[in-house]
């Protein structure tokens, strides 16, 4: 254990473990508290942070800490789900563009340009409108907007690999496409895929919060983090700073944890990027 701590790689792995457990705990706690988050107690309304209510209470006397954790739990679950869907989409389309021939390539590349040509938030508004707002709208929206850059990376990687000397050699030796992709392609693509997937989490969580904040995402009854922050705006001028500051800071912390997790995993998978 001490040996592990001395070594930076060891520390990284430990950190990844701790971070993952922490995020999972938030996720679980929010799940379990989903009823408590709606509990109102009008005798306890608009309280500043104190021991009983570390994040204070809102205008209906709801405990903001519980609401924040529940909202974040929702965001994390939604973020993980959409990031997964988006990464799978990226893999399918990115690899498809590289191997399905010229027409498929130009169609997919064009689609990528198209999606990148509209600001994310605007596209999210459009998609969420198309699906009648609510959970489905956000989920589909984030899935459809986040796959492009990973797809581009995977496409480039596959193209480069299929031009590489050892793949050409394997073809000459008469190995089939299945063998080549299993032995020469997948080991190179997989780390890229996982890195891209994990780095997508923070963006997905952030965009979920943003679109919900604007009023397109989850419905106002749900204690989503975007809803909490959107509600807090009404009480800003009354000086109830804790309603926006603390839940937002918690959201930032979760996004940063995901970000750190992604970078650590990618540094582990790709040692070239991490010297000293």
């Amino acid at each position: 254990m001490r040996e592990l701590w001395k070594n930076r790689r060891g520390r990284t792995i430990l950190g990844i473990f701790v971070t993952a457990v922490l995020l999972a705990m938030i996720c679980l706690a929010g799940w379990m508290w989903s009823d408590e988050a709606l509990l109102t107690d009008l005798s306890q309304k608009n309280l500043a942070p104190c021991w009983a209510h570390p994040f204070g209470t809102d205008f209906m006397g709801r405990d903001m800490f519980i609401r924040t954790v529940t909202g974040l739990s929702m965001s994390i679950r939604l973020g993980v789900l959409t990031a997964f869907a988006s990464a799978v989409l990226a893999a399918l389309l990115g690899i498809g563009a590289a191997v399905l021939g010229k027409t498929a390539d130009s169609v997919i590349t064009w689609a990528i340009d198209l999606i990148m040509g509209i600001p994310h938030i605007l596209l999210l508004i459009l998609i969420s409108y198309a699906f009648g707002k609510g959970f489905l709208g956000v989920a589909v929206g984030i899935t459809l907007t986040h796959w492009t850059s990973l797809a581009r990376i995977l496409r480039g990687e596959v193209l480069q690999l299929s031009e590489s000397r050892y793949v050409k050699m394997a073809r000459k030796l008469g190995h089939g496409a299945g063998y080549i992709s299993r032995v020469h392609m997948i080991p190179h693509i997989l780390p890229q895929f996982f890195t891209g997937l994990i780095l997508m989490f923070p963006h997905a969580v952030m965009h979920e919060a943003s679109i919900t904040f604007l009023g397109f995402g989850l419905s106002p009854e749900q204690p989503a983090i975007g809803i909490i922050l959107s509600e807090s705006m009404k009480y800003l001028s009354m000086g109830y700073w804790w309603l926006s500051l603390l839940p937002g800071a918690f959201l930032v912390a979760v996004v940063l944890l995901f970000h750190w997790l992604g970078h650590s995993v990618s540094a582990l998978l790709d040692p070239d990027s991490a010297h000293v």
Partner: protein, 328 residues
């Protein structure tokens, strides 16, 4: 630049805009949201006569098939007529023109400030790799990149407007003042905090990228050789560093118009700033399809223009491209 390249770019823009409008139109047409219910309300609809409702249905275009509506819209749009905003009851172009007046100033300011500040921070950070300034700047930039724009806006609003009272709490002009009595100073004063917020949200991207590029340059053979020739660190950064990172930085900043646009939607919402972003949100929430389409098309054009400018910049400024050499 050769003519056929210009033609190619123009064709790409046309195709892109066609794609964007078709995709946007498709998305709004499959929406289950009934604009009548959203904007007039169930109760009000119930008290209306059949004929009144029929007029409204026609006004909101509820019964015309989507494909047909798209063709109508498109044939008008190519002539510069983007229809009438259903919520503002004025031509879309007029609404966009008014809103853009507020937004473009905000975005231009934020674009320049975030570009310049981010670039300088990135250069300093990259030149001091792994030392204290680098750790501070990289840490700060990473923190910012993980912070949603709207929360930064909320924090700034709380701190600078509510608690310290340095800036107004929202809106583009003072409340209750007739439009003809609003001074330029009033407008600038109200734009200050939103512009500042938007600048801050744009810094991290360019700072981090410039740092990466700067680190690459500082580890390059030619910087090694410059040091071997006796150039001191200051001269290395100023003579070789800046020269080699400014082009990629400008390209990146031109390519990040999409992010600034997205950020402005959130920031305007927090500050109740009546710009394009807020109009897009209102249009989306209220089912104002023509306005939403108009704003989408406009932002697609802006993003395309940014990317085009980045391309042109390379071919005009980079000697390797200018003299027909291979780009790196």
């Amino acid at each position: 630049m050769k003519l056929n390249i210009v033609m190619k770019k123009a064709l790409r823009l046309v195709l892109l805009l066609l794609g964007v409008s078709a995709a946007a139109f498709f998305l709004v047409s499959i929406s289950p949201i009934d604009p009548l219910q959203t904007n007039i309300g169930q109760a009000a609809l119930g008290s209306m006569t059949e004929e009144q409702i029929e007029t409204l249905r026609q006004y909101w275009g509820v019964d015309v098939p989507a494909g047909e509506r798209f063709l109508y819209w498109l044939s008008d749009a190519v002539r510069g007529d983007f229809g009438t905003s259903l919520l503002y009851r004025r031509p879309v172009m007029e609404v966009i023109g008014e809103k853009a007046g507020y937004s473009l100033g905000l975005m231009t300011f934020a674009w320049i400030i975030s570009g310049v500040v981010g670039f300088l921070l990135g250069v300093i950070s990259g030149a001091c790799k792994e030392r204290l300034p680098d750790r501070f700047i990289t840490g700060g930039a990473l923190f910012l990149s993980g912070t949603p724009a709207f929360w930064i806006a909320l924090v700034f609003l709380t701190v600078f407007a509510v608690e310290l009272g340095w800036f107004p709490v929202g809106l583009a002009v003072p409340m209750g003042v007739p439009a003809d009595q609003v001074t330029l100073w009033d407008k600038l004063y109200h734009a200050c905090l939103p512009a500042l917020t938007l600048s801050v949200t744009g810094i991290s991207n360019i700072a981090l990228h410039t740092r990466e590029k700067m680190v690459q340059v500082m580890e390059s053979d030619y910087v090694l050789f410059a040091r071997a020739r006796g150039e001191d660190p200051r001269s290395v950064v100023l003579r070789h560093g800046l020269r080699n990172v400014i082009l990629p930085a400008m390209t990146l900043q031109l390519g990040s118009i999409s992010e600034i646009l997205g950020g402005s939607v959130l920031v305007e919402q927090v500050f109740s700033y009546p710009g394009l972003g807020q109009a897009a949100v209102t249009a989306g929430l209220g089912g104002d399809v023509p306005l939403l389409l108009g704003i989408t098309i406009l932002s697609a054009i802006l993003v395309f223009a940014g990317n085009l400018a980045a391309d042109l910049l390379y071919s005009v400024v980079d000697p390797r491209m200018k003299k027909g050499g291979e780009p790196r």
